[in-house]
Symmetry: C2
DNA sequence: CACCTGTTTTGACGTCGGTCGAAGCAGAGG
DNA sequence: CCTCTGCTTCGACCGACGTCAAAACAGGTG
């Protein structure tokens, strides 16, 4: 699931460029929620920064004071969010990040482009704009 | 709280560059968790992309089929995560994003730098590296 | 096959979090 | 001062989530 974030989010339209649709925000929030846990975020960075671009579960478990099943659970959440992929080779399972997804997320978060509405000077003297 | 993410995270060290410390991941996860909800993510983009760079709560409430208190709650979460700031002017409260924070988050997510450990070619023939 | 290690799944438990209605607070305007 | 509107806080409800122990599964090795 969430194999291609770009297909849903429309690839790389910055948050500050135009409002996200309900569906876009739902898909994006799923990914951010996966990163919204200290353990998972650290797992992600451990995997991403590990030599060779991949890390064995056995390497990851020792870093935390958590049970094996708990680590496995967090890895599953990251996997289902599309942030990492796991591959079994013999006895061990190796995880690696999906750089495209990180790249897309990074692009979405980039602040207002020069010609975005938010970059226009606010008309402080005018009454607040209300659509109704 | 979380007035300056850079002070805690060390500013802009990409996730894939080196592993996050427990404290860094805790602080970062707090921000990502705030973005890990569809409503909040949409609120954030509504505010960020709104003309003048700010939006009144009254503008935001109408977009969702949610009660006022619920919207207010989500805005509070975003505010306490340091993602937005609120200012009362007369009857209305205006929110605007903190672009620095978005910028820092975007920088943290940028994938592996060319000379990061993860970018080194994996030695597929070698036995898995285990610290112990 | 039996057994051992590494990893995932299952089931349960306690806490956290999104939601609402009701009540409270802040300004504007009679 | 009273009241009306915009927004926030409070209290409660219920589903979602992080955690663990136990059990199941996968591969290697005798």
């Amino acid at each position: 699931m969430l194999a291609d974030l770009a297909a849903v989010v429309g690839c790389c339209e910055p948050l500050a460029r135009e409002p996200l649709s309900a569906q876009q925000s739902t898909e994006l929030a799923r990914v951010f929620k996966a990163m919204g846990d200290p353990v998972r975020l650290r797992l992600l960075s451990l995997i991403a920064s590990h030599a060779g671009g991949e890390a064995c579960v056995c390497d990851l478990t020792d870093v935390f004071d958590l049970s094996g099943p708990t680590i496995s659970h967090h890895l599953k959440v990251l996997r289902e969010a599309g942030l990492i992929t796991g591959e079994r080779r013999g006895t061990w399972v190796y995880y690696r990040v999906r750089p495209e997804l990180l790249d897309q997320l990074s692009a979405v978060l980039v602040p207002a482009a020069p010609d975005s509405p938010a970059a226009m000077p606010a008309d402080r003297d005018a009454l607040p704009v209300v659509d109704a």
